[in-house]
Assembly symmetry: C3
Homo-oligomer: 400 residues x 3
């Protein structure tokens, strides 16, 4: 490891960050709430934190402090990413394990948000099961914290980080795009590239819409040519699609909504084939989940799986990959993927395709901890470049 | 933030703490086991730790060390308070998740207490469900640790902190009174103030007696005029009431045991209306809980709720608040409160009353992490003032 | 505490460690995969870490970093030992709570191993329930990590520490032998000592074979005379017994396989009477566990308990202890022990025997956190003696 070169590289990145003039940007709930400079600052900060860690410089920002981990749905990789990010910055992760019903909306959210925040710096929330509710919940928490600070009850405002809502999954999408930036040599290199965001068959149901929504909502900021494809009935939230179209046009890209995987894949530079639930099923599921109606859920699942089964040909096969630009589009996935003949009989992707891109998907995932750490840093520090300069000047080694 | 002024303030508080000549005061199980100087030292230390944190001075005392979190009943706010306190001091919280039966009394307590303590500095225990057993369990743990240290098995004695037992809830009550001290301008200002500790209706049952017991057991040390009110059958542990009476007399206060909320509220400076279970119900519940007799528990709950329902007029309404001193008594609650029309159809407090005091109750709760941290510091350090001076001299910032 | 003497002692131990020329020894899966020098280095490093901590010198090696705790079976003491060890070195423990089926073998292991390791330094795994699978799983994780590092996906290779597999329980056995080293005045003093590793009756079934296997696999390295005794049918894995015999011969010790507790105890210097499941039962259990066949498991348990009941006389009584060398063999147990009349009606050991050795068994357990910390240090640092010298030179106090 060439320390001098590492430090020179870090300094260059810090200068780049300083030029963006971004700081204290608050909660990260939806990527489209952030300016391009803010997105860029997040990518650069993630790169700086990673470069520091790999050069054995500890980017610890706090000597103590709590990070709240509030997962209202299961998670392994995002949970580890959040914990890794917080630990890297010096925060101790405390889980908020709420019974689904105990902490409901309204009064209780306000109270709980304050009770867990007296010494907290960040709150990561996953709430992706209930279409129409996850983002709302995160905003309720955020508003409660604002009120707590305004009333002098909280010494500082913890940053809320969306670890997946019903609308967006920005820590995933931002990691996806940092991966693309590194793969193609810069975020600016994405302009004009074709990205196929397509539905894929899976022998499961009820997967959230937030990943495809997060991907099109972000891709459309960078002048990419997006092709969204899914079978009839597997629509995304209409407002997110409309917004993505608008953003694509504004950024000099394009957005086409097509009805076959083949059409989306044709000439694509990047393909993101991934299963998600039908829009109406996600809507119908909400009252069933609230009522704990397991018979109803079983029926819905059965109907949905039967419908899914009509579209088993929506699989990312070698044949379909041949349609992409030079037959060599970059395959992406948020993982875990349903791999035909490996994790299921028939799934989203052929084993040979996945195999060829496995390391890429792992690399893709590896950006997430740094994206989350960057979001927390940028939310909480007014002059992030100055903060990172101070980290560099301090020179604490991460390992003795 | 005026750093010079902050530091001057902290130094004044440290001098105050030094004058109390308190240190290494051991476990904190019952507030009435502590001298007035010890209670005072706890309040002052909590204020110092808070002032340090808010002035961005890290009060980390340990570079590593385990704090055991042993919750034998659900908890959100105390769990977060304990974690926050421990993290602030540099301890890593490890949960002891015991099956209710796995770690029983006797031999196993001795063994477990030692096994979790080889590198531990503090053990926080909540054990409030079993009347006649929670405090006993905490003392068994404490005794086992004493034996472990005496036998040379443990390098040092972890401090046991009562996070709620069947008898007392000292981290709550101490936080309540630090709140009162700040509200009224000092603990000495509480002398002569009337505090109404009253039962209130709730559509639930089985709430522990430890909060009201903790409150009267502590209020009676400071020369307050306590008025305890509850419907017939909702008695507290007789020994705690007797002790509180004695303490009230000794401190120049008074203790009246009345039978209506109105009588307790009349002229009160502070009101603490809160539901708790009937004494006999708590006793009857113990064998049912031990036997996992869910049918018996259901029956008991039904009978208890039916009895509760006779006392729905025990609600802290605007009308009742008008009876208090100038109609402006300070409303207190350990949270969560059962708020009429908000968290339940009919509950402990009217929505408009709670609304007016909501911020006060949140402020009240905000003292708990610092109270717990102070208890650990005072338990483990022989000369706390000197320790805190060393923290100040070190000058490590909590945030870069 | 005589600091000068403490530091001189630590320096002597570091010199001893340096002379062993051991470092970066990788995962610790089976003690017999390690050379004698590596075992010795582990003992010495554990002693150094303990001496440092007790002299109030913080042996923190990392400023941040994740340690993954992957318990596929319940645990209290190993969980606390692992957390204590990691915290001592500066690592934050993140639990990997996997559904038994969610993270299975093959593809998913590879993926999960990478996903949890982007910022991880150590992974502790307990997987002891499935005979023929636990060690295999740990090796699969290790291989996946190797591949992740080779592909440039992971910045460094987390060390895998076996916290109990179907084959070995090296953190237990190594702690056991560090205890013996301190008890008898050095590992070299174990040569020629007789150790009785015997089955004992317990009113439970299905206890793993890894403890007795770990003990004979390690004892046979040090020239001890091992006597293994169990009723017919309670065999250990044949390969481990064969290996132990070979190792015993090679180290100048002996290995006898006898059929009664009396025979094993006769003249023994150390006795380790402990229950374990019959070999065939452990094998039969695997498909039942995999299929979640609770009726089948119930039947198997019933049959096994009935069989166990034929051997209630396999109890470590005062009479049996009289057979040992001078009637004063050192009694050992990994805890918790089934104590007759205390934790069960009839069990592994008489109350009076256990009582006399209780403190010894607690002392034995107390070495485990330091053994685990030593394993991590030796796995991850190329020149452990130099690392520990740097720790000493830094002189950070563990407590202010």
């Amino acid at each position: 490891m060439d320390t001098k070169k590492d430090i020179a590289n870090i300094k260059t990145l810090i200068a780049k960050l300083a030029a963006l003039k971004v700081g204290s940007y608050g909660d990260f709930l939806l990527s489209w709430d952030k300016s391009l400079a803010e997105l860029d600052a997040t990518f650069v900060t993630a790169d700086i934190l990673r470069a520091m860690r790999e050069a054995d410089i500890s980017p610890r920002l706090w000597d103590s402090g709590i990070a709240v981990s509030n997962f209202r749905d299961n998670s392994t990789r995002t949970r580890f990413s959040f914990a890794s990010a917080c630990d890297l910055l010096g925060l101790y992760v405390q889980d908020l394990d709420e019974g689904k019903s105990q902490i409901a909306h309204g009064e209780t959210v306000r109270e709980t948000a304050n009770m867990i925040s007296f010494l907290s710096e960040a709150i990561g929330i996953r709430d992706d099961m209930y279409l129409g509710e996850g983002d709302k919940y995160q905003r309720e928490v955020a508003k409660s914290l604002d009120e707590g600070v305004a009333a002098g009850l909280l010494p500082s405002r913890p940053a809320v980080v969306n670890l997946q809502s019903d609308i967006d999954h920005p820590t995933q999408a931002m990691a996806d795009f940092l991966h693309l930036a590194h793969h193609f040599g810069g975020i600016d290199k994405l302009k004009g590239k074709k990205l196929a965001m397509t539905w894929a068959y899976s022998p499961s149901y009820g997967k959230p819409l937030s990943v495809p929504q997060g991907v099109i909502g972000l891709a459309s900021r960078f002048g990419m040519n997006i092709s969204l494809a899914h079978p009839a009935g597997y629509d995304l939230i209409p407002e997110v699609v409309a917004l993505s179209k608008k953003q694509a046009a504004a950024s000099g890209g394009s957005f086409s909504h097509v009805s076959s995987m083949d059409e989306a894949f044709r000439g694509a530079d990047i393909v993101y084939p991934k299963s998600w639930a039908p829009y109406d099923v996600m809507l119908d599921r909400v009252p069933l989940l609230h009522n704990g109606d397991s018979a109803g859920l079983k029926d819905l699942e059965k109907a949905c799986l039967a419908n899914n089964a009509k579209f088993t040909d929506w699989e990312c096969t070698e044949e379909k990959m041949k349609l992409t630009a030079g037959g060599k589009a970059l395959y992406m996935h948020c993982l875990p993927a349903d791999i035909t003949g490996v994790s299921c009989k028939q799934g989203e992707v052929a084993a040979s395709v996945f195999d060829r891109y496995r390391d890429d998907t792992y690399r893709e995932a590896g950006y997430k901890p740094y994206i989350i750490a960057a979001m927390i840093l940028l939310a909480k520090f007014a002059d992030p470049a100055k903060t990172l300069e101070a980290v560099l000047a301090r020179g604490t080694k991460r390992r003795i």
